[in-house]
Symmetry: C2
Subunit: 204 residues, 2 copies
């Protein structure tokens, strides 16, 4: 069960959301899932084998059990706290967005350099308070929503504050110590893929 591949890990939340939305049947087979999601059935089975052992021939997987196993594996049940650096447009949205809670992520504070943005009632603090708060509340996840120019600086602050996992919305590479994991939310890449599709459509 050790070392699950990144591609598998990315598909697990998709399975989970499918299972939650299609609550009618008690048992679900990999075949059904794969068809609904336009994937290969062996792939689904393999992915699920990595986190579950409740599959039964001819029957499939017990939906409820599978949901629980997925949620546990994905950490939706053990709540993690996170902080955001950069309370601009995107940062504010993420700070107020309640959708992450269902994934076990609680964004508990935002930080910014800009004094005018600080509003402690709304949990927005000056960046000078970052380290103290992270240490005190034992926070491991930091979200970067500043611009490209400030991203590395903020990243260093986060690392200094004891953060070990960074969710980076700035379209840039970050240098971090090897024990820190950086997850790039690569919106530029998504856009690139989209616009490529449009272009290809036009040329064919």
């Amino acid at each position: 069960m050790r070392s699950i591949s990144k591609s598998t890990l990315q598909r697990l939340p998709i399975y989970l959301s499918f299972l939650k939305q299609h609550c009618d049947s008690e048992f679900v087979s990999a075949t059904v899932i794969s068809k609904a999601l336009s994937l290969n059935d062996v792939q689904v089975r393999k992915d699920l084998a990595a986190i579950s052992s409740s599959g039964r021939p001819k029957v499939g997987y017990c939906r409820c059990t599978l949901i629980l196993e997925l949620e546990n594996f994905l950490g939706y049940n053990d709540n993690e706290n996170a902080v955001i650096i950069g309370v601009g447009n995107l940062g504010t949205a993420l700070l107020n967005y309640e959708g992450f809670e269902q994934y076990g992520l609680q964004v508990i504070a935002g930080f910014d350099i800009d004094e005018s943005k600080i509003d402690e009632k709304r949990k927005i603090f000056h960046i000078s308070k970052l380290k103290d708060l992270c240490k005190r509340l034992n926070i491991h996840i930091g979200i970067i929503t500043v611009n490209v120019e400030q991203a590395q600086l903020c990243c260093d602050e986060l690392v200094d504050a004891g953060i070990t996992a960074i969710w980076n919305f700035a379209p840039t590479h970050l240098n971090v110590p090897s024990y820190v994991h950086v997850q790039r939310e690569n919106m530029a890449a998504s856009l690139a893929i989209l616009s490529r599709h449009i272009k290809d459509n036009k040329n064919n």
Copy 2:
């Protein structure tokens, strides 16, 4: 040059942002880029070969040329218009966010079912006006920021309105005709990877 791989396509914006930030030298080699971004140098060279032919032995690539080639390839120079469905927290942020313009994406209108959210001055319209507007302005890209329950419905509306590329922020699978491309912004997956990293850290 035909058929560039998805993984390559995802790395191109990273190269571009690196090149733009490090403007000092006239020429850049794949070796330099790979080291700065912690990638394999052959991989960088291969990726760049797909979109450029300006690499010269002993010299590298002309930075400016490469930037232009990347921008052109990624479509940053031909502006595309897009609409958003779902003007909640995230939708509003994206609607107001100006950062996408640099990627050639102009979000020109938001749509919602909720009458109370409609504010035509702020370019937020009722969903009933979607099709007309898309057809009139020849819009190809739609962004979905509604919740899971409504996502497929909105998706169908977009397809009906002539959209051929969908950027889906709802954590769910969408069924579309084969000519429509869906790009899932898989935040749940990112979170899964992050929280897995935290978990692994704790267990080791």
